[in-house]
């Protein structure tokens, strides 16, 4: 095995885990709505979306498990659940927007609009990855994301252009979430390293289209484009918000309290 080949494999492993972490964090968050949604129909619909994200995490981690068999390293001999459940906050590579609490329904749907718009373009690009496994996961994911986007677009209009209260809540949500959007377009070193071989997606290149589309929808929903005077990043380097550790402590409770068992 050549040096570059093994480096590529290691990078692909980390890349898969990052994408898996994005999906798992959002899936975990969305599942919080199940039994708490504003109407029973939404309990079902959001649970569906949550299931898609958790399923996606599972696929990315499965690929990571296979890669780790060859690369060795910290993930060697680990299962999907070891990866999902046994790391501390600093070892999770998800982008910050995916870990933020659910907030109110406006906040949740605004985050969905932001990431669904992003994901449709991202997974369109990834489905053309030279890594056939990533391309296959992306193709499946893309179909789901297109459906998610139809929903979040619809909700953005309803809530943005609904009542005064819903409009205010949506505008607040957009303003609060905006600072987490630049990170979606920031290339990590791993992603940069995989780019020349056509394995990873060039996030930065997706920005203009995303910005135009999201602005269009905000406009349609009678919402103002936020000033964007505050922004944070850090997720891909394992520097997370304070919310992250609490999400983990809840999610990991059984695996931590009863280590090493089958469930």
């Amino acid at each position: 095995m050549s040096n570059t080949e093994s480096t590529t494999r290691e990078n692909t492993l980390e890349y898969s885990i990052g994408l898996g972490d994005d999906s798992l964090m959002l899936g975990q968050r969305l599942a919080e709505w199940c039994r708490n949604a504003p109407l029973l129909e939404e309990d079902l619909a959001i649970s569906n979306v949550a299931l898609d994200f958790i399923g996606r995490a599972n696929m990315f981690y499965e690929y990571a498990v296979e890669l780790a068999k060859v690369t060795g390293g910290v993930f060697k001999n680990q299962s999907v659940d070891d990866i999902a459940y046994l790391r501390d906050s600093r070892e999770y590579l998800n982008l910050l927007i995916f870990e933020m609490p659910i907030g109110d329904f406006a906040y949740t749907m605004t985050r969905q609009l932001i990431v669904d718009l992003f994901n449709v373009d991202y997974f369109t690009a990834l489905s053309a990855s030279s890594d056939s496994r990533l391309a296959a996961i992306a193709a499946k994911t893309l179909k789901e994301s297109k459906y998610h986007l139809r929903r979040s677009h619809e909700w953005a209009l309803r809530l943005g252009d609904g009542t005064e209260e819903s409009h205010t809540r949506m505008q607040n949500a957009v303003n609060e979430l905006w600072g987490y959007t630049p990170e979606l377009f920031e290339m990590s070193e791993t992603e940069l390293a995989l780019l020349p071989a056509g394995i990873s997606v060039d996030r930065a290149a997706l920005f203009d289209t995303w910005e135009a589309r999201v602005s269009g929808i905000l406009n349609e929903a009678t919402l103002d484009h936020p000033p964007g005077d505050w922004q944070v990043t850090g997720g891909r380097a394992g520097v997370h918000t304070e919310y992250h550790g609490h999400l983990l402590s809840e999610m990991q409770f059984l695996q931590r309290a009863y280590p090493g068992l089958a469930w």
Binding site: E32, D43, L44, I54, N58, Y85, G162, S166, L254
Partner: protein, 321 residues
């Protein structure tokens, strides 16, 4: 053709004849007011049970121990919500709105399965609820597939398939615990100890004491008595408990060769009445949670209505111009 005007008594007789003839009653058919009321009570109670049951099970979604278990549980709770929706629609065919039904749940005039007033404390409770509570529900609902009201019977056929799936998944999750570490086994046994008797209570009071039973049987809303159904549940579940290597929390339980059924100990009906009358661990919590979620979501539902009106107005303007 001669037009007949039937008097009330003749209408009721004709209705009973159709029931006796195993014909299904459909929404547009004439039915006695008491039949309609009885059905609304039973069907809405069933719908509310599906929805309230989402709370104790939903309590563990965020803490499910593996991704697979998390997805199974989330999908299950989602199914229960779907059953609730489907049953609300079926109940609405009787001339009542979902808003009215939900209002009755929140003000306490409508009931839901009392078993959901017990807390889900450990992960083993999740498997146990799927296995025992869905298991008991299936025994009841299989008999309801032949209930006399068409929309309810059809709902039961559809729902029963998913409930069987839940029951198998719950059991499978307990098999893992029962064959796991000492702690996991103890967790499974503890869950069985807490859920066993409430599961038997799910079938309601003994036939002699059941308020609605006789008339419901005559109208074939109910097809089997509470005690018959309870016995069927015990008979099918004991071998499963044995398979798990767990102990039934009932010293009087034993196989009765003569009857061809298991005999089991006396049910604590004081406990049953205590919880039914609102004094269980979670009665307040369940209804308060439902109200809070409903109230917190009011602005969303208002926005939906407002947006719909705006859209209709805009479309009208477009057409006019």
């Amino acid at each position: 053709m001669t037009q007949f005007k039937l008097n009330a008594e003749e209408l009721e007789q004709a209705f009973q004849n159709r029931i006796d003839d195993e014909q299904k009653i459909e929404p547009k058919d004439w039915m006695p007011e008491a039949y309609r009321k009885n059905l609304i009570r039973q069907m809405s109670q069933h719908a509310h049970s599906e929805v309230i049951g989402m709370q104790p099970e939903g309590n563990w979604i965020s803490r499910a121990p593996t991704l697979r278990r998390k997805m199974i549980l989330l999908a299950k709770v989602q199914d229960e919500g779907g059953h609730g929706l489907y049953l609300y629609s079926a109940t609405e065919t009787l001339g009542i709105t979902r808003e009215e039904l939900v209002e009755a749940l929140q003000n306490g005039t409508a009931k839901y399965a009392s078993i959901f007033n017990y807390p889900s404390l450990t992960w083993a409770d999740i498997g146990t609820i799927g296995w025992l509570v869905d298991g008991a529900a299936i025994v009841n609902q299989i008999s309801l597939q032949r209930t006399s009201y068409g929309p309810y019977a059809r709902a039961m056929v559809r729902i029963c398939k998913e409930e069987s799936f839940h029951q198998r998944q719950g059991f499978e999750s307990l098999v893992v615990l029962a064959n796991g570490s000492a702690e996991q086994k103890a967790m499974a046994q503890d869950a069985l100890n807490r859920w066993w008797w409430p599961s038997l209570m799910m079938f309601g009071p003994h036939d002699a004491e059941s308020a609605h039973s006789a008339q419901s049987m005559k109208w074939k809303i109910k097809r089997k008595s509470n005690d018959e159904l309870r016995q069927a549940f015990v008979d099918q579940t004991i071998p499963q408990i044995e398979f798990l290597g767990l102990k039934v929390p009932d010293d009087d339980l034993k196989w009765n060769e003569e009857r061809g059924h298991y005999d089991f100990g006396a049910i604590d009906w004081d406990e049953f009445l205590r919880v039914v009358s609102g004094k269980g661990m979670c009665n307040k919590q369940r209804v308060e949670h439902h109200k809070k979620v409903h109230d917190d979501g009011a602005w969303v539902r208002e926005a939906m209505r407002a947006y719909k009106v705006k859209t209709l107005d805009r479309n009208r303007m477009k057409e006019a111009s």
